[in-house]
């Protein structure tokens, strides 16, 4: 199934032959390069990456995992509010992170910690956001990263519009955008893919199919054989990829990226993965899934697989325990900075509502200050 390159099947007119054509979503074919033991299944497709790049990618995945675990504990300690863990989805985002450039755009949903960091969003900012401060979306270093977008699937249309701008302005930029399996049921998903296909814009749509939309499994979300197959109706190349296989994700992204830059338009990547954690820290997965199922998916863990590959290739020489300790210190430092961020002020509520604040808002703020004075004097 995976070891032979099949006769290309084109999904739409005017698209050059690409790796997407070799894995037909209608047949539920999946692009996979290494297996759960880190063994290379498909040497022909193995990307030409330097050892250093692979090691760095693993470290980024590990860093994201440690940060994500710590975010969950900070929340449990009552030092942060509701947080959506990315545990288990690191390979997808770091594979994109290796490719995405400073000038490229990221239109995230809300489970994209790793690629947001890869784009230069700081953990301090992420933590600040989940502490309930909008300043966490005021990214100081990250270029072309949109704020977290909670309304499901709506960001896909923004990505499409950015793609139009890029094309119109004849820029060499690519948009990366993300949605979950549940989000593919929203009208905005279909509308975004349709527009992107018609306009032939440089957008890479990734579905992080982590099997659950909160409690609803993907089999009750769609009657389609998979999610990648949805691309066909829009005349967009689509591919199902093992999202826990760093190399497969890298190959898919590289091809989608080149395709976009060459002016050939959008692509849709279904990244098959598993949400190892809860939907958010408010959710309890034991209500709707079994321990056995979780253990089964544990075997596909993206970090374990890449590590096994590196061990076999003899390129991993680091002390992982020590690395984790270093990461923890760094992450905690970022957290402390977020905790010590300036206290939230009344003007923080008003200041960014309009570029030109209307008098009615100034009056509401002034009235509230009168009330605060009254309250202060009453003590």
């Amino acid at each position: 199934m995976l070891n032979s390159i099949k006769t290309p099947k084109k999904y739409s007119n005017n698209q050059p032959t690409m790796i997407f054509d070799n894995f037909d979503p209608r047949e539920d074919e999946i692009l996979r390069i290494i297996d759960n033991d880190g063994e290379v299944l498909n040497k022909e497709l193995m990307p030409d990456l330097t050892d250093e790049t692979i090691i760095q990618a693993y470290k980024s995945m590990l860093y994201a995992r440690v940060a994500d675990n710590m975010a969950v504990s900070y929340q449990r300690q009552g030092r942060m509010y509701t947080y959506p863990p990315i545990l288990g989805q690191e390979a997808i985002q770091i594979a994109a992170g290796v490719i995405i450039r400073n000038e490229d755009w990221l239109a995230p949903a809300f489970r994209e910690l790793a690629i947001m960091m890869a784009k230069g969003v700081t953990l301090k900012e992420i933590f600040l956001y989940y502490m309930g401060n909008e300043q966490g979306s005021n990214f100081s270093k990250a270029n072309h990263v949109l704020p977290i977008c909670v309304p499901i699937g709506s960001q896909l249309l923004h990505a499409t519009g950015i793609g139009y701008s890029i094309k119109y302005q004849k820029k060499d930029e690519v948009v990366f955008t993300y949605v979950g399996d549940g989000g593919t049921s929203e009208g905005d998903f279909s509308e975004a893919l349709n527009f992107a296909g018609v306009w032939k814009v440089p957008v890479i749509f990734t579905i992080q199919n982590n099997q659950y939309a909160i409690s609803v499994p993907v089999k009750r979300q769609t009657n389609s054989v998979n999610l990648a197959v949805k691309a066909i109706a829009f005349g967009v190349p689509g591919i199902k990829v093992d999202g826990n296989d760093f190399f497969a994700m890298y190959v898919a992204y590289k091809e989608a990226f080149n395709h976009a830059r060459a002016g050939n338009g959008p692509t849709l990547i279904e990244a098959l993965t598993y949400r190892k954690g809860a939907h958010t820290t408010s959710d309890d997965p034991s209500k709707y899934r079994t321990k056995d199922e979780e253990l089964e998916w544990d075997k596909t863990d993206p970090l374990v697989r890449l590590k096994r590959y590196m061990d076999k290739a003899g390129i991993w020489k680091e002390n992982e325990e020590q690395l984790i300790e270093e990461y923890k210190l760094e992450i905690d430092k970022q957290f402390t900075q977020a905790e010590n961020f300036a206290a939230y002020k009344l003007e923080d509520i008003f200041q960014y509502m309009y570029v030109d604040m209307p008098d009615i808002l100034k009056k509401q703020k002034a009235d509230y200050e009168l009330f605060q004075n009254w309250k202060e004097n009453r003590k």
Partner: protein
Amino acid sequence: MSVMTIVQAINNALDIKLEEDKSVVVYGEDTGVEGGVFRVTEGLQKKYGVERVFDSPLAESAIVGAGLGMALSGLRPVVELQFDGFTYPAFNQIISNVSRMHNRSRGIYKIPMVIRFPYGGGINALEHHSESPEALYAHIPGLKVVIPSSPHDAKGLLIAAMESDDPVVFMEPKRIYRAIKQEVSDEKFSIPLGKAKVLAEGTDVTVVAFGAMIRECQKAMVMAKEAGISVELIDLRTIYPIDKETIAESIKKTGRIVIVAEAPESFSVGAELMAVANEEAFLHLEAPPKRVMGFDTIVPLAKGEPMYMISPDRIFYEIERTVKF
């Protein structure tokens, strides 16, 4: 009688109607297996089966649009939208079709449908999880909009909503979902839609509120009492059709009105209540009607939310100013 929270009272109302009326179906995102993100529908799928209580795919417009189809063809759907801020994808179906079908068909089709969702702030939530869009829905001709403030009312009003042949938007104050416990009758009962309730009689000032703000007003009333101010507290219960009579009667008695709600102040239910005060009781007013409402801003995330949310202090402050005017 059983002690119930609002969550349990709503669950109980759904249970009673599912039991007695086979045309009732309940669905939404995560409402089946999980019983909803707030567990409002917990246990109902087990009891009534997956054909009557189920999970839908994730698409609010489809949840409401398909619900309308069911209502057109013999069912009485109760659909859940997960949060206030996630109701907007369904706006088109609600405004363009649900609210109009009876009128459009000149009465051939009745729309016995309830659209439920949790609303309001004060729970330290992420963006889009703290909004109070009651004015958006109340502004749409053809809809009824109902907001309970207690377990007893939640049960009685939801049963009335489910028995209404007109579509009802039923907004549930999530902040007090579990905060208030109350003895509620286990029997079936309903509370008529369109009627406000005088929760406490008073002589100096009328305070009108609904949902989670009732509890804040009750705390402010304690402060008012200490200051020698007698407050008449009215729970609106139904936003639309609005009960002008009860409000006007109260103002005629007290001469003053303070309106409390968390939604942004401009073009709000508060604005409508100001109109009621002026149109129905203008000559009885001894002070300008006053609104204590949210800023015309996005509800801030947790760090800023305490300043946005209406506190008992702030309600008392405006009550006192109105009385001393």
